[in-house]
Symmetry: none
Subunit: 342 residues, 2 copies
């Protein structure tokens, strides 16, 4: 029989506080007061606590495996993020395992549990549309498995998020359409439960306001942003009493579907309706006219997410980073260029 | 502050025994005496202990996790296969973890080992270009973890392969070009180390022979089949003393790149050069002219691979299947249609 181990639960009981507080106190978490931290540290020392004992007993120390959970594998954007992650992970001797949530909270919970059971050293995740809480990550975090959010993120005191400024990007796309002379701009957006789509909508509104155009909710279509859903949405747009003269869609798949349907209906792009997409996927230079879009540096995002995670795994000082914001930029092509056209 | 959870440490403390003994007792470990087990069970019940699902899963025999290894995540074709696998796996309560070999044998070996360490119940794989042997699967197979090959396969007495008839598909594509009046057909192909590319080349040769056209090795370009590599190959084609009048490329990304470069060089598609691709990706209907291509039923392939694997896991009689061949078909669009054009 082994000597009884002291755990955070014993310390919590001795101090009549929660194990979560003990865990955070021992990690020098900023949310825990200085006095509480001292009491926790003193008690831990007195009781002979050694960190990580439970984790060490239950888990092998390092598997050199990092988990990645994304909403959909067939997303070109997410595959570029993964290629960035893979590049950095390989250079540091880590292997990746990947799982998809298919935008479902339930599937995301399952994926996290599968990753946990695969004994990953760390996890990177872009959240499903349905996800609203972080409870399903607590078990991992309790075991000191670091977690990084990218692209679709949520606030968590222990986690770093890697994003672009989606509000500014939505603003840039809309301002560009306004500067091309558009006055009635439709915004095709995703599920505003997710930061990325809510922020792009905010940027759209801000740009309209700046040009003294009143926001019209009937010009915002929240859809799944797939080829098919956009084709349906475009048919709906074509039945509007007054047609828009610009469309800003929140991804390129959707923009391409939109242009195709407009052309089929005999609407000229960009003369009748100018179109701007989001992501800068390869398809943007295949569709005719070539698509104006926001360049989203997916590979760079993956590289930075992986570097941040690996620094945490190697206990390298990286500061207590909360959010890292990458640069985006608007790439202007023919689908929106009206001013030079005639 | 959250309600305190009862852990094995609390039970251990109450009984003055080690947490390891509590853990083993709760799992009915043979090394723990009957009386001790009873004391542990009684105390756990009294204290309101709930077994930790994660910890329980760690020691369960089945992990309900299936592994999938593909060459590249950014392949649309492979993402459709995975969506088919995911559909069937979810319906049977299995979770997927996915890894990519990036066409490297060494990375494939690492991925197999990561999957093994994640204690997957079964594995499905489409092989890297570099892979020539099956030694790296033997450890899994020894542990009776079933293995299914799909798309890019290799002979193994214990494994089922799911394929299409690539030779017939290459033949169909080439015969179509010949029937459109093409007499000098370039074939842009991948690494012939892989069955899929070797077989498509065979089909191309067979079709030429049937039309009494002598095979000319200088008209076969073996490249990486990426956008960039095809752009370079197309520039090379454009310097040929005698231009071809048809091009059959072994994937759609390559066909689209090829059409773009031809158009930029002022070559008319299909009038001067007719082009046929392979896979029927969404981009085939975005490029203008729309691409004639082989429809490769990726989602169906994934569904059948997963069904075959799960039948093996459930020890259901499925016969000793060696190879399952799915149906392909040629989809004729404007990029090759010369006969109706003028």
């Amino acid at each position: 029989m082994t000597k009884k181990e002291i755990t955070i639960y014993d310390i919590a009981e001795a101090l009549s506080i929660s194990p979560a507080t003990v865990s955070r106190g021992l990690k020098n978490h900023p949310g825990i007061g200085k006095d509480t931290k001292k009491r926790i540290a003193d008690t831990a020392r007195k009781m002979g606590y050694q960190q990580n004992m439970f984790a060490t007993n239950l888990r092998r120390k390092n598997t050199n495996t990092i988990g990645v959970i994304i909403p959909r594998l067939e997303s070109y954007f997410h595959s570029t993020v993964i290629s960035g992650i893979e590049k950095v992970a390989n250079a540091h001797g880590y292997n990746l395992i990947i799982s998809q949530s298919q935008e479902s909270y339930k599937k995301e919970v399952n994926s996290v549990s599968t990753m946990y059971n695969s004994r990953i050293d760390g996890l990177m995740i872009s959240l499903a549309n349905e996800t609203k809480t972080t409870d399903h990550f607590e078990e991992l975090l309790k075991k000191q498995v670091p977690l990084i959010f990218f692209d679709r993120v949520i606030e968590h005191p222990d986690c770093t998020s890697i994003v672009i400024d989606n509000k500014k990007a939505g603003y840039d796309a809309t301002i560009h359409l306004l500067e091309q002379g558009c006055k009635r701009i439709v915004h095709i957006d995703g599920n505003v439960n997710r930061n990325v789509y809510a922020d792009r909508l905010e940027g759209y509104k801000q740009a309209l306001q700046q040009h003294n155009i009143e926001f019209d909710q009937s010009l915002v279509l929240n859809i799944e942003l797939t080829d098919q859903a956009t084709a349906v949405a475009t048919q709906k747009i074509l039945t509007m009493k007054q047609l828009p003269d610009g469309i800003f869609t929140a991804n390129d798949i959707s923009a391409v579907s939109c242009i195709r349907e407009l052309k089929r209906a005999g609407v000229r792009v960009p003369e009748d309706i100018a179109v701007v997409g989001f992501n800068n996927e390869p398809i943007a230079t295949v569709i005719e006219p070539n698509l104006t879009t926001i360049n989203y540096p997916g590979k760079e995002m993956g590289e930075i997410a992986a570097t941040t995670l690996i620094n945490k795994l190697k206990k390298q000082p990286s500061g207590n980073l909360n959010t890292i914001v990458l640069r985006h930029n608007l790439i202007i092509r023919d689908s929106s260029l009206r001013k030079r056209k005639h």
